[in-house]
Structures are given as structure tokens and as C-alpha cells.
Subunit: 177 residues, 2 copies
DNA sequence: CTCTTAGTTCTGTTTAGACAGAATAGACTG
DNA sequence: CAGTCTATTCTGTCTAAACAGAACTAAGAG
């Protein structure tokens, strides 16, 4: 699989670009795109060759993807090499990513905000305005975190229905007027 | 305002770190944090001094924040300098950010995927498997984009209610079983 | 028990992005 | 219409991250 369909190539390049905007290494995103498109799990050396990157880089990128929980090692009979496969279910994949982002971004932020507010209680630590701002932010992040935690527990079809909620359904639950 | 409350400092530093994880420049995020905490709009030179960054950098960062739509120029009577103020409403702020991210990330991705699939129709452009993968992804992004567009139109209290939707409410709309 | 194959980690280099300071442009003031 | 104040843009420097290739480790295979 050293040569790619031009379409695959186009997608892999775009995915790499998008990765950088999400604070994800371009190469990591490309490896992911390749695995996502691939019908079969791929060994690391083949990935390196196909994308034209160093074998060592591939190793690092694959590890990163495993940390995100969206790529798994697979073993192929009669082949000593590790093979790598991306999750197939797109919803599950983004759920995994969101899970990690919550852990890495929302949770620490909630923690810092709580710390700040705890200290802010002390006499000359902060004025009322700053306390107010931080409290607003904390409420937002707590709400977002909780909402996501609930969302994460829903099975894919339920998320689909939720995403498609229209005005009528919102009115039913008394959300829209 | 050359000296900051220690708590403000702590928050600004954390916000800067978080920024980098979101593909946002650390300095840009710090400037935003400072403005978010500030009671009054601040002029650029004061921002530069408080954060210990070059005036030129401040200018660039402020422009970036204006592009995101979360910082606005404000004029103060009797002062020729531009002053800058962050949005106050946390929900509106994240709505603005989400709006931009959709425009910069979701929309172009949908576009590329449609392109790919259009080309994939041609004879030897791609195999059925790749077409399937790309179609899955496209459906996901279209759904996510649409869902967000609807979410964006809701006023803050409605979003609050939606975020707090519990199991019972989900069952009411027939989403959970 | 040596040789090969696979995978990871280490090290030095490269590169893109962030940044400071200088140069520039523009707008107001006396 | 000088002189000052403000903001932006330009240019060179610096730094952190990305990366390739080498060195190393581990695990079969003969």
C-alpha cells in the first residue's frame, strides 16, 4: 500500500491540517487518517513508508493515538509485527476524543478555578469583581463537564436523536418557548 | 494595574496553558484572560506592561481576539487610546468561539469530504471501502454542524436547560429508553 | 547462542511559530 | 505644519516542537 488513491491522499493531508488547529501534531493526524481509511490494520513500517516519514516518528505518533484511545494494536497471524487499526465507529471515535479532552482541559480548569476561588475568600486576595468572573467561568465549566459526562453515557443512536432535536422537540421539554 | 492579584496571575497563566492545547497562542490566551478578569477596558500598552510582553505582540494578540469575536474595541472619553474589553457573558463567549471553530474547522472539512466523494464516484478513483469511510465521516460532520447551528440560535437560558437535561427529560422526548 | 527482525528511546538537526524591537504609518495638538 | 502620541507592520532572533537517523532493547528463529 505504498501508493494511495489520490482521494485518500487529499483527505490525509486535510486531516493533518485540521489536526494542527486542534493542537494535534500534523503527523499524528495523518497517521490517524491513513489508519481510518485503511481496510486492514497496518504495520508501522508500512505507515512510515506510505506517508514518507521516519520509522521513529511513526512509533511516537502511534503511541499518541493509542493514548487518545482511538487506535489499537492488532496482531495478524503469521506476522510478528504489530499492526494498528483505527476505531471504525465515527461517533465512538469522537466520544473517545471528547473524553480525553475533558480530562485534559475541562477537569484541570475546574480544579484551578476552584483553587483560585478558595484563595479568593481570604481578605486581600482578590476583589469582588474578579471573584464574580471566576465564579461565572467555574459554573460554565462545571455545567459543560457534567453535560458531557451525561452525553458520554448515551449510546450512539440516542446521541443521534439528541443531535437531531428540532424546535418542536425542544418545546415539548419546555426548553424553547 | 501593573500588579495583579496573585489569583488573577494564577488564572492568567493557566488560561495561557489551556490556550496552547486548543491551538491558540499562549500570549493571545493570556491577553484574553486579563481582559476577561478586568473590570474596565484596558489600553494596549497597559496590557503589554502587565503581562510583560512587547507592545507589538499585544497588538497582534488583540487583533486575533477581535477576529474570534470575543474582544471589542471601546473608546474612553478623554483618552485617544483604544481600549479593549472582553465579552462578559461566558455562554455568549463560548458560543462565539464555537461559531468560529465551526467556520474554520467543520465547514472546510465538510467541503473537502464532499469533494473527495464527488471524485470518488469516478471509475478508479477509490474503492468502496474508502467511499464508505468518507461517507461516515461526512455524515458525522454534517450532523454536528447542523446540530451546532441550531444550538447557536438558542438563547442562553434555553442552552442551560438543554445542558441540564436529565434522564427523565430524555425519556420524555423518546431519546432514552 | 548468534543472527535477524521489530519496536522504542535517545540525540542532534531542522523548522515553524512566537516574539522583541525597530521602522513605519496615521492621526491629533498646539 | 512641526511635534507627539498611538497603533500596526516589518525584520531578525530565539525557542520549542517536530523530526530523522542512530543507538539500543527485546524477542523470536535457526
Amino acid at each position: 500500500m505504498a501508493t494511495l488513491f489520490p482521494i485518500a491522499q487529499k483527505f490525509i493531508l486535510h486531516w493533518g491540517e485540521m489536526g494542527t488547529r486542534w493542537g494535534i501534531n500534523r503527523t499524528v493526524a495523518q497517521v490517524h487518517a491513513l489508519l481510518f481509511l485503511s481496510e486492514k490494520p497496518l504495520p508501522a513500517d508500512e505507515i512510515a513508508e506510505t506517508l514518507g516519514i521516519a520509522r521513529s516518528n511513526t512509533s511516537t505518533s502511534l503511541r499518541e493515538l493509542q493514548n487518545w484511545g482511538i487506535v489499537k494494536i492488532v496482531h495478524v497471524l503469521g506476522d510478528r509485527r504489530d499492526h494498528f487499526a483505527s476505531m471504525k465507529d465515527v461517533f465512538a471515535m469522537f466520544r473517545a476524543i471528547a473524553h480525553q479532552r475533558k480530562k485534559r482541559e475541562i477537569d484541570p480548569t475546574v480544579h484551578v478555578l476552584r483553587d483560585c476561588l478558595a484563595e479568593a475568600g481570604k481578605p486581600k486576595a482578590a476583589d469582588a469583581h474578579i471573584r464574580g468572573r471566576l465564579t461565572d467561568l467555574l459554573e460554565f465549566f462545571e455545567l459543560a463537564g457534567d453535560a458531557y459526562a451525561r452525553l458520554e453515557k448515551l449510546p450512539t443512536p440516542a446521541v443521534l436523536k439528541l443531535a437531531r432535536l428540532g424546535d418542536r422537540a425542544l418545546r415539548m421539554v419546555g426548553i424553547s418557548k
